[in-house]
């Protein structure tokens, strides 16, 4: 009898043990947008509760080059912003409920946004704001769709006015008004969960 009782308790312990440790390494961290504002001050102590954006690797994706500075998506933003110098303006947006700030740096001709992960900031977005800058392949605001296709080819996803070239986990997006490019964005994969 005692052996049976012990058996039951061992079974209980085994079930708990499996639940506690069996899948210990499979905890998935959810990526998603962090741009909508929020309140809480810290999530760092929340243990393994679902967390916000995990940085993704966009190695091999399209890059934006400004002077000597090459900007890749999901790259550590600190050396980039240091090399770019003082921005024209700067804005911080708290993530809705989660730790850290999305940071928006405006430079002459373009805007750079970052997202926080594990105490560091990574590049999430570069937006070309005027035709004083262009992509390294030579497309600027005001160019035509034909020029975009000439420089980047026709292997793009088209959704209404949007042409998106996907490469290395990031997207290079052109928005057209008629035949004319009115917006150029380099977008990290972390924004694919939706952004503000």
């Amino acid at each position: 009898m005692k052996k049976k009782g012990l058996g039951h308790f061992l079974a209980l312990a085994a079930v708990c043990g499996v639940l506690l440790a069996g899948c210990g390494n499979s905890e998935h961290v959810i990526s998603g947008e962090t741009q909508e504002g929020g309140a809480a001050e810290s999530a760092s102590d929340q243990g393994s509760a679902p967390q916000e954006a995990e940085n993704t690797d966009s190695a091999g994706g399209y890059v934006f080059v400004y002077g000597d500075v090459t900007i890749s998506m999901d790259e550590d933003a600190s050396p980039i912003t240091e090399a770019l110098g003082e921005p024209v303006s700067y804005y911080e947006a708290a993530s809705c409920a989660f730790e850290g700030l999305d940071k928006i740096y405006t430079y002459s001709g373009f805007e750079l946004q970052t997202y926080p992960t594990d105490g560091k900031d990574f590049v999430s977005l570069v937006v070309l704001k005027d035709d004083s800058v262009a992509t390294p392949e030579g497309v600027a605001l005001g160019d035509t769709k034909a020029k975009v296709e000439e420089k980047y080819g026709t292997d793009y996803q088209e959704d209404g006015a949007l042409l998106a070239y996907e490469k290395g986990g990031m997207k290079l997006c052109f928005i057209l008004d008629g035949d004319q490019v009115i917006s150029i964005e380099y977008r990290s994969g972390v924004l694919e969960g939706g952004d503000a």
């Binding site: 009782g5 209980l12 899948c23 309140a39 409920a97």
Partner: protein
């Protein structure tokens, strides 16, 4: 002998079930001191449910409107069923859930959520969904909200999702198993500190400014449900400066409100009337209002609800007045503690 054996098996099964339930309670995040937004939805169930006004929506409701002011100055009993990045289908199912307990006279919905047409993030989903009591509405909300990576079973048995928190447990996890401290004032998240709004970026150019079909469908469902229950639905856009509220979005909401005959208050266009000052009335550079800002726009809303909608002043109802006496004391205590924490001098009242 057989009976004894059956009893033993039943006892073991019961012990396993109770152990797992306790384990689950222990391991689930409590959202008491960190990411308090995760505790908001649950708090509603402990309330006396006799509200004149219920707010539903994202951070733009729970950080920008103060039920305490609606009561103190207008005698309107209200509650905010808000949560971080509350998606519009979550708002709809929270409304359904609320109607299981009470039928308010007015529902206020913040329209920023129309920007999202599909599931976004597990982390935010859980902050809204885990706090809901089980019902058909919760099941439907989970199914509508899950991202591709999520599993329904993880919501039914959160232990499956949180099992690895065992190595990070803190004292609050043990204390919070049976008793949770309140994190809001009738759903309002209070902040008194100030960070002026400067260099707020304009919105990026979008390829398509139209709200998605799914978002519209749920707004229709919210409007239909309110109509069916005789509730006045009031659409609002909180005065948050970021994320950017596009003129094209405004046009669509105005057209919808007109078509459905719904009141719509865009507080971005009412800064003069409300007296909002973004150098003083926000704690995070224009994303959300601080206490000073929230009280200002709530006064405007209170006057609107009283004068235009005709909601009655209930301050003469003794039971309700007694309830609010305690609530206001907690509100003032929190306010004063925050002024002290931030080294601020409370403004003259």
């Amino acid at each position: 002998m057989k009976k004894r054996k059956r009893l033993k098996i039943a006892g073991t099964v019961l012990a396993v079930a109770v152990s797992l339930i306790l384990l689950q309670e222990l391991l689930m995040p409590k959202y008491i001191y960190d990411i308090t937004e995760g505790a908001m939805i649950r708090e509603y169930y402990g309330e006396a449910k006799d509200h004149d006004v219920v707010f539903i929506g994202d951070c733009e409701v729970y950080e920008n409107f103060s039920p305490a002011v609606l009561w103190q100055e207008y005698g309107i009993n209200s509650y905010i069923r808000g949560s971080a990045q509350q998606l519009i289908w979550q708002s709809y199912y929270l409304l359904e859930d609320t109607l299981r307990y009470e039928t308010p006279k007015v529902v206020v919905f913040n329209v920023l959520a129309l920007q999202y047409d599909r599931p976004q993030s597990e982390a935010y989903n859980r902050m809204t969904l885990e706090g809901m009591r089980w019902s058909a509405s919760k099941v439907k909300s989970i199914l509508a909200s899950m991202t591709e990576e999520e599993s329904f079973l993880d919501y039914v048995f959160p232990l499956l999702r949180y099992h690895s928190r065992w190595s990070e447990l803190k004292a609050e996890d043990f204390r919070g198993m049976f008793r949770r401290e309140r994190v809001t004032h009738n759903g309002y998240y209070m902040r008194v500190d100030v960070r002026p709004a400067e260099n707020v970026p304009e919105g990026r150019i979008l390829a398509d400014y139209r709200f998605g079909d799914n978002a519209w469908a749920y707004l229709d469902r919210i409007a239909d449900l309110c109509q069916e229950k005789g509730i006045l639905l009031v659409l609002v856009k909180a005065p948050s400066l970021y994320p950017y509220w596009y003129p094209q979005w405004e046009e669509q909401v105005e057209a919808y409100a007109l078509e459905r005959g719904l009141p719509y208050l865009n507080f971005l266009e009412l800064t003069e009337e409300t007296g909002l000052d973004f150098s003083q009335d926000t704690y995070d550079a224009g994303l959300h209002l601080n206490l000073s800002g929230a009280e200002k726009i709530t006064r405007y809303l209170g006057a609107y609800l009283r004068e235009d909608i005709g909601l009655a002043d209930r301050r003469g109802e003794k039971a309700l007045a007694d309830l609010w006496r305690d609530k206001l004391a907690a509100y003032e205590q929190d306010r004063d503690a925050q002024y002290e924490k931030y080294g601020m001098t409370p403004p003259d009242r």
